[in-house]
Symmetry: C2
Subunit: 341 residues, 2 copies
DNA sequence: TTGTAAGCGTTATCAG
DNA sequence: CTGATAACGCTTACAA
């Protein structure tokens, strides 16, 4: 295990001061281009690698961004992370990723780790049941920029990157109505989370705009799991006045529900038309293919990381752009299209 | 933005030396339990947080583990990462995650970042076409432990966590043979990667053991994408002597292939029985449900992280346990089961 | 059990 | 354009 090369070694060998070496290695403007060349050459020759800790310690920043997500193993989340990683990497930042596993407790622990790890900024998508945001206040107090994405906070005034969930909910519902559905069931998640409340709002608005009544018995709050999907199918099957449309705000849940409905010999979309949310790969596998809201995960990740980094570099003040809203798209597939109304 | 509290502040307020404070905060054995209590109390009171950089700089270790994966947005990979994150988090390590996007070039860049980031150890799953491993040699030279998982290196002598891909390939193929298949097509990925060569070996062995000929025209090397799946279906459809069994080493690819075959009115499993690999969520959505090899992603991540951390803490020497082989399971579903042989 | 003091490798400030 | 020097906050011999 060879000894680490430092700027002192380079300096000594070239009869320069460490300060000059440091400057050369950091593209400082006021440095002679010849000396710079010499230094970079020597650095390469000696196999020098910069010591990030020393640098961080001195500069009081880490070039590290913390990311807290509800869970890692979801198609949407991993797309987001992929986008974040791309951008962060390009711009010389590292990502420290942590999952809350949908639990506030774990989310708090993650936040603490990030805080102690002195991340330069934090990207957060909230857990299922987070209410208080005290664990994130410390960041704000310390002036560490905080940016929410997807599952954002409605209380804290932090920048967030989202889609227009109200409109998405509206579009999904309106689409079902246009297909002739009159009784549309809405299956969604914990209403503490903006994504679910907003989609519900959209659902209600679409009903109103099309002169359909809002029937509370057609709203189901679930944990959006596959089991929940099966459960929903069961309940529908037991209903006297069955729905003829189904808007489920998660494709995985929607797909398991469809499979269960099919077992009960419901015809999709004739008996019941279905719309999901996320455009997960399963949407194109289930038969009939699932109509869903396409939701730009990778792009969301890129933009979130981009914004945070721009802010960190003083290019843009994150506080001024308070919410970034991305486009989404209703992708119509067979699960919802009725040939006749 | 308040000033950071340091051990000096604590020391001053308690009339102690910073050394004592440091020791107390690190559970040093030779420290008076009373003073220790005093110190921890004061630390809490002042909102002290340890500065990892100063500590790292001093101790020459980072408590950070680097992870390089081919891509982030795959079900399998995100399960692995989820497992790694759990373990790392429990044991006080951070994860720096980077994706090679299946390109050697990007993989090299990632390795360099990790190297400069002075990770304590590295967990790697190789990109599609990586051949030379020079970019990883630097870690070995520096004595930084390197552990491969899933897509491992056959050359470098580093610990790896895998499943027995030969056996998995064998089991999948044997299962098809037991279902009466005589001409089994094998669709797989770049043979530079152990996972694919080994599965091919298993395929060949199963054929031999069951007295079936190995027909090179039934081997297809693809990029395992969905498009590849469609392409395979097309080719099968154009073949004169069609296969009656299909072993595709990736569920996503298998599923798109099945969908395409169904469009060409192949009956699955009657005309062609299909086995996939990975047990991706889509396997349980496609109809008929896909028989596949279940592959413990989360567990693989946990074990990989566990082993590396144990090694870092001197509990186990990683060099002694050279390969950790996990169990897999052939999950039989409808896509391969023929009522009569 | 506690204190002293050196040093980890950078970078920012100031001076030249 | 370059150099000297003082931090950054922590750990660890060594000494007391």
């Amino acid at each position: 295990m060879e000894k680490e090369v430092t700027i002192y070694d380079i300096a000594k060998q070239l009869n320069l001061s460490p300060a000059t070496v440091s400057r050369a290695l950091n593209d400082h403007p006021s440095i002679n281009s010849n000396t710079k060349e010499l230094i970079t050459a020597k650095a390469a020759e000696l196999g020098y690698r910069s010591n990030a800790f020393a640098s961080n310690l001195r500069r009081q920043r880490t070039n590290t961004i913390g990311v807290i997500v509800p869970r890692l193993n979801s198609h949407f989340v991993s797309s987001v992370l992929s986008g974040m990683e791309k951008v962060a990497n390009e711009r010389g930042y590292n990502l420290i990723i942590s999952q809350s596993q949908e639990s506030v407790k774990k989310e708090k622990a993650s936040a603490k780790t990030m805080f102690n790890g002195r991340v330069d900024g934090l990207l957060v998508s909230l857990a299922y049941d987070t209410e208080e945001l005290d664990h994130l206040d410390v960041f704000i107090k310390k002036g560490i920029p905080l940016l929410f994405f997807d599952r954002v906070s409605t209380h804290t005034k932090a920048t967030s990157v989202v889609i227009d969930n109200v409109k998405a909910g509206y579009d999904a519902t309106a689409h079902l109505i246009e297909q002739g559905c009159q009784r549309i069931m809405h299956v969604t998640g914990n209403l503490k989370r903006n994504v679910y409340t907003d989609r519900l709002k959209g659902y209600k608005l679409a009903l109103i705009d099309h002169n359909l009544p809002y029937d509370e018995s057609l709203l189901m709050i679930t944990d959006m799991s596959r089991e929940a999907g099966i459960d929903v199918a069961q309940q529908i099957s037991n209903m006297y006045n069955k729905p003829d449309g189904l808007f489920i705000t998660n494709d995985l849940c929607a797909v398991s529900c469809m499979a269960a409905l099919k077992k009960e010999s419901f015809r999709i979309p004739q008996d019941i038309a279905v719309v999901g949310f996320n455009d997960d790969p399963v949407a194109q596998v289930i038969e009939p293919n699932l109509t869903t809201i396409h939701y730009p995960g990778e792009e969301m990740g890129e933009i979130a990381a981009q914004s945070l980094i721009n802010h960190l570099n003083g290019l843009v003040n994150i506080q001024t752009t308070n919410t970034i809203v991305l486009h989404f798209e209703l992708v119509v597939r067979e699960s919802s299209v009725r040939t006749t109304g």
